[in-house]
């Protein structure tokens, strides 16, 4: 097959491309330029869009002996991922930009362009498996990326290849070294690639403006302190509140919700953070169709989060999940991903979460 390998300049995508070559495919490497003004050099382990990353991708393609090009998707990335990220925070939600990038950039803009140009599929270095066409967790639970791929539809997955899902990260690195790929010991990228210094709050403050607002106790309504801009907070966050007044029992307080309308951060006890019912929409049935109108499965509510046995009710594009065990740190804007064992059933964006205390018995 004619395969397009998306090569970030990291070890995973380099080995994925190498495996596609070994499998006998006609592979072409493409690095996605996602920043209109890329930095020359990488700083630490952030990002994948510096000129140095493009160079690393090119060198890996050289070693594999495959053609290599750079596709400029900076404008699309800005509109579909960065602007979305900022406006989601402005609306008091906590977006997952990696998931948005997979949905809009890698498996829409890139995949559509590849198919139009005559490629049969796109191969990436994601740690996930496709088992009989069904998206499945990687054998390496620490590196599993099925959560951020769960936005993909059957049509998209039909043209995707994830050759790394049967390997652990350690195996991937060893293989890269054995193949003579210089990126074998390149640090893993983490955090948000377009925030090079890792300062998400500063990034948002520059775009949304920082305005002081109140921190309010959920139970009493008392103003407990002042924050420098509500968008810098995430549900479940404990640090950085700088509250002067402790709770009567001395327990820590957590961010329960963010109200961008009146620039208010609502805090409360850990118990109040516990969520047992979640609404998500629009739902994407990654595995093709809903297993039923009402079914049990396990759900994951954030990247690298725990899963929880759940009963899901489907109502058109909306799913409601009742969790067997309450979870904390559930934020609107994150994805609810439904699993049957290791197989992804579907996903949706969390639009509402109900506290355990508020759910009628």
């Amino acid at each position: 097959m004619k395969i397009l390998a998306a090569m970030s300049g990291g070890v995973d995508s380099a080995v994925a491309a190498a495996r596609a070559v070994d499998a006998g495919h006609d592979v072409t490497g493409v690095h996605l330029a996602l920043s209109a003004a890329p930095a020359t050099l990488r700083h630490g382990a952030r990002g994948c869009c510096t000129a140095e990353d493009a160079h690393d991708a090119r060198r890996a393609a050289d070693v594999l002996g495959i053609p290599f090009y750079i596709w400029d998707l900076a404008e699309r990335f800005r509109a579909d991922v960065i602007d979305d990220f900022v406006s989601e925070y402005a609306a008091g939600r906590t977006p997952n930009p990696c998931l948005r990038c997979n949905e809009k950039i890698k498996f829409t803009a890139v995949l559509d362009k590849a198919l139009a140009l005559g490629f049969d599929a796109v191969v990436t270095g994601h740690h996930a498996r496709l088992v009989d066409g069904r998206l499945t967790r990687s054998v390496d639970p620490a590196k599993d990326q099925s959560y951020v791929l769960a936005v993909c539809t059957q049509r998209q997955l039909a043209s995707a290849m994830f050759p790394l899902g049967d390997s652990t990260k350690t195996q991937v690195r060893e293989e890269a070294a054995a193949r003579g790929l210089a990126v074998a010991d390149k640090p893993d990228s983490h955090d948000i690639c377009f925030i090079a210094d890792g300062d998400t709050r500063g990034f948002l403050a520059r775009r949304l403006g920082a305005e002081d607002g109140p921190i309010v106790d959920a139970e009493t309504g008392d103003v407990l302190g002042t924050h420098p801009g509500s968008f810098g907070f995430t549900v479940g966050q404990r640090r950085g509140l700088n509250l002067q007044r402790p709770t009567p029992g001395g327990d820590p307080r957590y961010v329960l919700s963010i109200r961008p309308v009146d620039n208010t951060v609502v805090v409360g006890s850990r118990e109040m953070l516990e969520i047992s019912q979640v609404r998500a929409e629009p739902v994407v049935w990654t595995a093709g169709v809903a297993p039923g109108e009402r079914f049990t499965c396990s759900v994951q509510l954030r990247a690298h989060g725990m899963t929880s046995p759940t009963t899901v009710t489907v109502n058109g594009p909306v799913v409601t999940a009742v969790l067997d065990t309450p979870q904390v740190g559930v934020a609107a804007g994150q994805a609810l991903v439904m699993y049957d064992g290791d197989t992804v059933l579907g996903s949706g964006t969390i639009t509402a979460a109900q506290r355990t205390a508020d759910v009628p018995a």
Binding site: T28, H31, A33, P38, A51, A54, R58, P67, Y69, I70, W71, D72, L73, A74, E75, R76, R78, A79, A109, D112, K113, A116, L117, G118
Partner: protein
Amino acid sequence: MMPYLDHAATTPMLAEAITAVSRAMGQVGNPSSLHGAGRAARRSIEESRELLAASLGARPSEVILTAGGTESDNLAVKGIFWARRAADPRRRRVIASSIEHHAVMDAVEWLVEHEGADVTWLPVDAHGLVAPAALRAALARNPESVALVTVMWANNEVGTVQSINELAAVAHEYDVPMHTDAVQAVGAVPVDFAASGVDALTMTGHKLGGPPGAGALLLRRDIACVPLLHGGGQEREVRSGTLNVPGAVGLAVATSLAVERREVVAARVAALRDAIVDGVLAAVPDARLHGHPTARLPGIANLTFPGCEGDALLMLLDARGVECSTGSACSAGVAQPSHVLIALGATPAQARGSLRFSLGHDSTAADVDAAVAAIVPAVERARRAGLTSVVS
């Protein structure tokens, strides 16, 4: 052989140049050394300098050997700016065409950012020509403020050839020195340094069959130029650094042969270029040729394919062994809409949908046929992919 249609990026070395470079590489000797080996190396340098000067209508003492076009452009733009400003602090303005190569454009912008320079970008018409009247108007506005004028002899993307003599004469009406980047012109159109009237001229070897990393700045002896590189004081103390003997030898041999064979090669190459343009326009009728209809380099054909992205076309042609370019090669490899096509009046989408085919001394009719045959399916596919990099 693969159809190589990217001669404006770099062209194959002439066999004679390879022989001359190889021979020189076997010789030891620093041209600045005083012993026999040094004198032999110095002799090679000076003979090369004389040959190069004779090929370009310059005197040997006007040849400053450099590492290539980018260095020569930077040396001329920055060096003449610094010298002219040192002589009269009012001279802070650079007048440049809006279709310069990045080696000139970015050097000018660096002066603006770091040296307090002002810049007047001269517009071009839809064919890429700078009107002498536009230069005169820019100079007349405040002639004492001008440090230098720089206008490229022939454009690397669309191939338009300027009336350099006329522009130099206008600059001299106001006693302002004139630099020209003639990297694409030398060996392709007649270039005579003295007759042109320019004060400084950039040329490089690898665009005409010489080795990469060897070029020259032709600089009139009465034009002061502050060096970029300080050191041993080589090249009139304008360009320090141990002289590159194999490079200079190869540069001189290739330049002299390219100039000597120019008329014959240019006629043949122009006919091939016309064939590629005719063939492409017949196959893709809505494609559009950029540049001047007559005042153009023999080897360059830059075409826009509406509804396509140049990078997609390039990839599809490359897969079929047809090697061309989307404009000027860029180190990052990211296709920015060409400032040259924009200056000629193209929209960003048109600029993104352009391809440059450039032919040279070893191009053949078979290359043209292969390119024309490959372009139709490539355009069909690229149109299906559409303008993915643009947000609708």
